[in-house]
Amino acid sequence: MIGAAPILLLIIAWFAATGPLGLIAPLKFPSPAIALASLETIAGPGYASAPLAEHIETSLSLVLAGFAAATLTGIPLGLLLGTSRYANACINPIFQLLRPIAPIAWIPLTILWFGLGGGAKIFVVWLAAFAPAVINTQTAVRGVNRTVIEAAKVHGARRVNLFFDVTIPAALPGIFTGMRLSLQACWMVLVAAELVGAYTGLGHVMIIATEDLDSGMIFVAMLCVAMLGVAMSLLLARLEAWVLPWRR
């Protein structure tokens, strides 16, 4: 999905708009020079109490842990809600009620239950990434072609077979969509998660840079998040292609 040319065009447009054309004031959006200076600052001496590598390491491990937690809990719940009408009727209302509550709103309770350590941040990431995994899995399971299910049943599929040989493979494309959205949610909630007492991390950098009105640094942090997100999403796409060879 990634082509280099449009990105190059974009970078040229950015140079032109902030530089020679002067369309955008540096305070409102950094010019390449300012962004580069910010990058040098954070990569070398560091910013917001640590160098860039450390921030990246913190955020990356946080996202990975949160994503893993969300996937490992969200997909099973989605499968349950999708396959069992009764479980769905029972659990879905609670899920729907709790889901819209922003992770930020949970922060006080998070601090109460998990303190200000890694657990609290992972919990916040999990809160955000959980719902997309559940919803897409559930939708995918519901959408499984009925004739195919019938075909499996008449060939003697018991619940186990039906589940592992039909429901799961048929739902996998949808599950992967859910995982992609879930991964995105992980990164999206990074700032909120690192509101819960962070020393380092890209979200922390964003918070500090926001308070400092340092548009260059905000931009650098955004760029890092975007690039890490893209990299992880590409890995996920690879995984998907490998898991689903039967799709065109």
């Binding site: 072609n145 004739t147 195919v148 019938e150 075909a151 499996a152 049943k153 008449v154 060939h155 003697g156 599929a157 018991r158 077979n161 040989d165 039909v166 493979p169 048929a170 996998l172 689903l244 060879p245 039967w246 065109r248």
Partner: protein
């Protein structure tokens, strides 16, 4: 104990405009190890009938019994070949064919053997590891047939299984089915649009009326087949050339064409006995 019985079956569908009566007062039975073919105009409810025997649909009136027990759901004792293939897109051809066996718990080596047998029988060599979307329509249907055959079930329910096959394969399959039915007879309910096929394969042919589907006539072929010793013919063309065959065939044709009045038809249905 695997005969199929329809007792006064009725099926209505809900449609936005109101109820839609698809089947009305269907009474017949397929005796154990009997081969019954169902013919009738498109939309008369053949598929619906078959789905009820499979346990995939339920009557809104009357009841359906298989082996003297009311049908409550699908099971591996009744294999179905669907009109629209219904293969598993995520399984290779081999995995598709082996699915039922896997569910049954057949050991791997034995399973492999059976799968290879059917891959060869259906002329699918070289496609065993392809996915369904990479095959032509006819090939997909052959996979679907193999998948059901591989289970060797007591009851076979087939919905136009040969409809998408080419003439060549179709004949091959018909002959194979007859051979199977001779060597190892099963209870078969078989839907087809080809009168030739029905007469060639079935012990009895059931002719249905258009909407709402009712039984118009039940024609006994088995007796003729036995007395005329069709079994001695090696090829289908030879059978089709027989006088008795042509006679039966045109009788069914006339029924389908509506050349016989419906009153007469009902009478005939009575006279042939079952229902």
């Amino acid at each position: 104990m695997s005969e199929i019985r329809f007792e006064g079956v009725e099926r209505r569908f809900h449609r936005p405009g109101g109820n839609f009566l698809a089947l009305e007062n269907i009474c017949f039975e397929v005796a154990e190890r009997e081969f019954v073919a169902l013919v009738g105009p498109s939309g008369c409810g053949k598929t619906t009938l078959l789905r009820m025997a499979a346990g995939l649909d339920f009557p809104t009136g009357g009841r359906v019994l298989v082996g003297n027990r009311e049908v409550r759901g699908p099971g591996p004792d009744r294999a179905v070949v669907f009109q629209q293939f219904a293969l598993f897109p995520w399984k290779t051809i081999r995995q598709n064919i082996g699915f039922g066996l896997k569910c049954k718990g057949t050991p791997l080596t034995q399973r492999r053997e059976i799968i290879e047998h059917y891959v060869t029988l259906m002329g699918l060599q070289g496609h065993g590891d392809a996915y369904p979307h990479q095959l032509s329509g006819g090939m997909q249907q052959r996979v679907a047939i193999a998948r059901s055959y591989a289970l060797e079930p007591d009851v076979l329910l087939m919905d136009e299984p040969f409809g998408a096959l080419d003439a060549q394969t179709r004949v091959l399959m018909q002959e194979e089915l007859v051979r199977l039915a001779r060597d190892n007879p099963r209870t078969v309910l078989f839907i087809t649009h080809s009168v030739d096929e029905a007469v060639y394969l079935a012990d009895r042919v059931i002719v249905m009326t258009p909407r709402p589907g009712r039984i118009s006539a039940i024609i006994d072929i088995g007796l003729v087949r036995r007395t005329e010793r069709w079994i001695d013919c090696e090829h289908i063309e030879e059978v089709m050339a027989q006088k008795s065959f042509v006679h039966l065939r045109s009788r069914i044709w006339r029924l389908l064409r509506g050349l016989e009045s419906s009153g007469e038809t009902v009478g005939r249905a009575m006279e042939t006995g079952v229902g």
